[in-house]
Symmetry: C2
Subunit: 331 residues, 2 copies
């Protein structure tokens, strides 16, 4: 990949013929930040896009220890038994620090790793959330073009990664453990609002009673939220990834979700909204980057903040001055 | 004000001498959107800023019918009895539609209106949230410069107005009514996270029992949230604006809040953060306005959205194209 020029036409064709080596090579290309590959990546995406989109994109989140890998192994194998092809991607903006903990433990996905109907790709990492988003969105498209009809996107939920995954999936699944009664305690802000289903994992053996009472509590909490615009009422389910219990019910639920949201048009509306969201996000991130990274602005910004602190100017007047300076330097 | 040039030096001096007519005239000047007054407003603010800031800024929100006016009358008169000077401002971004319902009912603030130690100013309205924010922030500074040491900022909580008021106050108070048990139902997203205190109003007569059980429920809900960065634990209190019950306890609570946050520096830190927030908000709002209102961008944006829809491009590639075009038109 590094030495020679990639034959994008050949690579695209192989990928579209479900060649997994080609898919891996294509994702590596997308993930490389080198400017040398920019045109190749563009062409590759252009070739694949018309064949992308025909999948169900499922976001899966939960704290470390909730059993994500074991759950994905069990869930993925069930999907394959139903005739699906399953790609598993991971989003982990923290991986540059942690060294990529996510999807690292493939011993818990032993069967899924070996199945010819699955594709597992660890960690789209990167320095900026915008970069991670782009790589993940493009990797999703490549997997779809390669024939995968179910895309699982796993995140550990560090920082804003859950919002990011939520903004590129059709269905968002929150994995939880039953604890000592106060299940909602310590749950991340906003996460319940994003969930289309909450799955209490490890609901087996002695855990069953606790899991049932956790289910009650989550159901109560869900009622406090206003209905979603797509009319979907989030559900709480019990499951055990380890014992393969309740996994079939989760997929039945998601199938019902897809049927319902496709019939009321909200499935497609949501995808269009997501595209628009990423377009404006990308535009605005760049506008801000351009402004704040400007050397003259950097100096002037510090001065204006000091003046605000000294009660010599207001935030609004300071903003006006900075914008004037910015426009002047652009001319 | 319209016919002749305003003598800003005279106006500023009168305002700094607590002349309420001058204060009203100054706020009117701030609220006028005419470019003719721009320099006058700048000079006025410049003169007043060094004397601003020495107040406790309290945001008060609640749905229509919760008894805001009656509460403010009772609360404001209590503050005055404690030797304070109280300014009441209102934020109502919807007032261009509703005709300004807020603070309109001055019959419920009969005593406060007549007190020489109060100043009541209805509705800073405007077409944009940014405009409303600026006018309100500047009006706060003017009131402070005129000697008011407590600023109450009322909002009905339409749209984003609560976030706006929260971002310019030291203490945020949510007024609620006790209802039929499920108190949290229908409460606006994020509002509980903003509240420093929840006051169950109209907790009098036959309402007492309901109010007490509502207090329990809110206390339970508050425990679900992670602690605030200033270490303040939001409290739930009962009060009756009409019967003047519990009003003193609310002010005691706020005094404790001010003491605590001033001793751990978070009071000043918060104000500095707010100034920085409004600075960046104002910058970013203007960057976006400049971009999206550009006539060539408007046309190109529609084309790119269509191309995304037709799977001919991605959101990120579309953003790149638009930013390139934008830069080109700026040269």
């Amino acid at each position: 990949l590094r030495r020679q020029k990639v034959d994008i036409k050949k690579l695209s064709n192989e990928l579209l013929n479900s060649n997994l080596t080609a898919l891996s090579q294509a994702i590596t290309l997308v993930e490389s930040q080198s400017n040398r590959h920019e045109d190749s990546v563009k062409k590759l995406i252009e070739n694949c896009l018309p064949h992308a989109g025909n999948s169900v994109r499922i976001g899966i989140t939960g704290v470390p220890g909730v059993g994500k890998s074991t759950f994905i192994e069990s869930f993925g194998m069930h999907l394959i038994s139903q005739g699906h092809k399953v790609a598993v991607l991971a989003v982990d903006p923290s991986s540059s620090i942690s060294g990529g903990s996510i999807l690292g433990d493939k011993t818990r996905m032993e069967k899924l790793v070996q199945s010819p109907h699955s594709y597992i790709r660890p960690t789209a990492s990167g320095t900026s959330l915008g970069g991670v988003s782009r790589k993940t969105r493009e990797s999703i498209a490549l997997c779809e073009a390669a024939g995968f009809d179910i895309i699982l996107i796993e995140t550990v939920g560090v920082g804003q990664s859950e919002t990011l995954v939520h903004s590129m999936t059709d269905f968002f699944l929150l994995l939880k453990l039953a604890g000592a009664g106060d299940e909602l305690q310590g749950i991340k802000r906003g996460i319940i609002e994003m969930a289309d289903a909450i799955v209490i994992n490890k609901a087996d053996g002695n855990n069953i009673d606790q899991a049932k009472s956790a289910k009650l509590e989550f159901n109560r909490a869900l009622q406090l939220y206003p209905p979603k615009s797509n009319d979907w009422k989030p559900k709480v389910l019990l499951a055990s990834g380890l014992k393969h219990q309740g996994i079939d019910k989760i997929w039945e639920l998601i199938e019902r979700f897809v049927k319902q949201t496709k019939s009321n048009q909200s499935f497609d509306d949501n995808r269009a909204l997501q595209a628009k969201y990423w377009l404006t996000q990308s535009i605005e991130e760049n506008l801000k980057k351009d402004f704040y990274s400007h050397s003259e602005i950097k100096i002037a910004l510090k001065k204006e903040l000091l003046k605000i602190d000294q009660k010599k100017t207001t935030a609004f007047e300071a903003a006006e001055n900075l914008l004037k300076l910015y426009k002047k330097t652009k001319l």
